[in-house]
């Protein structure tokens, strides 16, 4: 508690200093390399003492997605994952450029964009600790139909606070539960 108090006090002091430097930068009309350098230094210091969200992003033209973590699945046909629950409920694949130690997935309805199942993903060798990791996940017994499978670089409990890192349509057939229309 005492440590937190001193840290807050320190950050408060830095913020005051930063404000003063911003005034100096303003007075120099942004042309003083000296004051800009000081502004950046103190800014960096403040940032290092505050918790920042690393956020997430979607892929775009001329821009990549997040700095990390591509998901490749082993058995995709026409960009859809086909699961025949009468023969196999496992999905296998590879995560490359891995950084996170935890991954999870969610199954949702395409039309309503609602999630109805979440679970963690496990590395084949037990731990996500290498740059490239193979993994397996189990599709639960659910209704037949077309759904969306989303991947997260966090555990299943934290999905709501994160953006998915990948998604793919999934078609589930031969379930013992009645069909669903999407």
């Amino acid at each position: 508690m005492k440590k937190e108090f001193y840290l807050s006090f320190f950050v408060f002091g830095l913020t005051i200093l930063f404000s003063g430097i911003c005034v100096a930068v303003y007075l120099s009309k942004g042309k003083s390399a000296f004051w800009i350098s000081k502004k950046m230094k103190i800014g960096a210091l403040i940032l290092s003492f505050t918790v920042l969200s690393s956020g997430g992003c979607t892929p775009m033209c001329y821009d990549s997605s997040e700095p990390t973590e591509y998901i490749n699945l082993d058995s995709i046909e026409n960009n859809t994952l086909n699961i025949d629950l009468s023969t196999n409920n496992k999905v296998t694949g590879t995560i490359s450029e891995r950084i996170s130690n935890e991954f999870s997935f969610a199954l949702g309805n395409i039309s309503s964009d609602t999630i109805f199942y979440q679970s963690d993903i496990f590395a084949t060798d037990g731990e996500f600790d290498e740059i490239t990791e193979t993994f397996a996940l189990t599709i639960p017994e659910t209704k037949n139909g077309d759904f969306i499978l989303r991947f997260y670089n966090t555990n299943q409990n934290l999905q709501a606070d994160h953006y998915p890192i990948a998604e793919i349509p999934i078609k589930i057939v031969h379930s013992r539960i009645a069909d669903v229309q999407n």
Binding site: L47, C57, M60, C61, Y62, P67, I76, N79
Partner: protein, 349 residues
């Protein structure tokens, strides 16, 4: 009132650039644009970002341009975004800044830099960027950034000029210590409209280059992604397992919405169509207006396609760049058809 959640916004901080890349997609470089006023202002940058952050909960900011390092007080603008708790990527041509600025940006937590390396041959790279010495400068920038231990992504724009040695280029990039590469096919727009004939690959050339890149990526363990949406009937991801393909989201909020300095918001950085202005229009209305809804439609060419939901007709922003509707399939379909017909005619003759 709760803010609208936007995973990513690309901020075109300036339209000014020191290069004249033959393939440049920036719509203000299109041959039909004659009256565009180039923009560059720190004061306006902060004003626009302030407005954006007041109406939207933005996760990630990508600073682009133009050349962002030519923007007035660029590093300070990035600091502003970082202090608003946004993660940041910078798309730069790598020829305009210095070690001090890169260091400052890394110190404030910029996560990733994206730089072009179009070829292992300097003359090929320079020909594409239209600036002699640009290859050497970008290599120097990569050397600096590597020492600063930041994520670097190399961007290769695949054209007729550099496609025949793509495998060697990927190996060269790997030797520079970069293991993430964006392999983007030339996508018509901007200045590229005038240079289409010189740059546009035939279907066979495109597929051969992607095949070569895919095999190299698998052998060399390089992460290669294709980030320009391409119709699946042209490039089927199943045929290139070494390359990750991305496609445009149907959900406008998951698009790489692109913000101009004056507050104009566009669908993505390739689209020239302004959906609205965040200073004058409500964001919710911008994201649900008629121009936005046009993207939900199915192009006539794709009506019977089984994989449309995934592919969505390729890059329809490129259609807009060609003054076509966003409901028109990617113009690459049209170009490749013309090339095929021309080849058949030559064969008959």
């Amino acid at each position: 009132m709760s803010k609208i959640k936007l995973p990513l916004v690309a901020f075109e901080i300036t339209s000014i650039c020191n290069l004249r890349c033959r393939y440049c997609y920036n719509y203000w470089n299109a041959p039909t644009i004659n009256t565009f006023l180039h923009f560059n202002s720190y004061k306006q940058s902060i004003k626009t970002l302030k407005k954006l952050f007041s109406v939207a909960d933005v996760g990630h900011m990508t600073f682009t341009g133009g050349e962002p390092f030519m923007a007035e007080r660029f590093v300070e603008t990035v600091l502003y975004a970082r202090m608003k708790k946004k993660s940041v990527t910078i798309i730069t041509n790598g020829t305009r800044s210095n070690e001090n600025s890169y260091r400052q940006l890394v110190e404030i937590g910029v996560q990733m830099f994206e730089l072009p390396i179009h070829s292992y041959l300097s003359d090929v790279h320079d020909r594409m960027t239209n600036l002699n010495g640009s290859h050497g400068k970008v290599l120097e920038t990569i050397r600096i950034l590597s020492q600063l231990d930041v994520h670097i992504v190399a961007v290769v724009v695949l054209t007729k000029i550099n496609a025949n040695h793509i495998a060697d280029t990927l190996l060269f990039i790997k030797q520079l210590g970069i293991t993430r590469i964006m392999l983007n096919r030339f996508n018509i727009g901007g200045r590229g409209i005038d240079n289409n004939e010189e740059l546009q690959l035939s279907e066979e050339e495109l597929q051969t280059a992607f095949k070569s890149a895919s095999e190299t990526a698998l052998q060399q363990k390089i992460t290669v992604s294709s980030n320009v949406c391409t119709p699946i009937c042209i490039l089927n991801p199943n045929d290139y397992r070494g390359i990750s393909f991305t496609f445009c989201s149907a959900d406008v909020k998951n698009r790489p919405l692109t913000l101009e300095l004056n507050g104009n918001l566009r669908f993505c950085n390739h689209s020239p169509v302004v959906l609205g202005n965040i200073f004058t229009d409500k964001l919710e209305l911008i994201l649900n207006n008629d121009k936005t809804k046009l993207w939900e439609g199915i192009p006539e060419y794709c009506v019977d396609c089984q994989v449309f939901e995934r592919c969505r007709g390729g890059c329809r922003a490129a259609s807009e760049q060609m003054n076509l509707s966003a409901k028109t399939v990617d113009p690459i379909i049209h170009f490749l058809k013309i090339q095929r017909e021309a080849q058949q005619t030559n064969f008959k003759q």
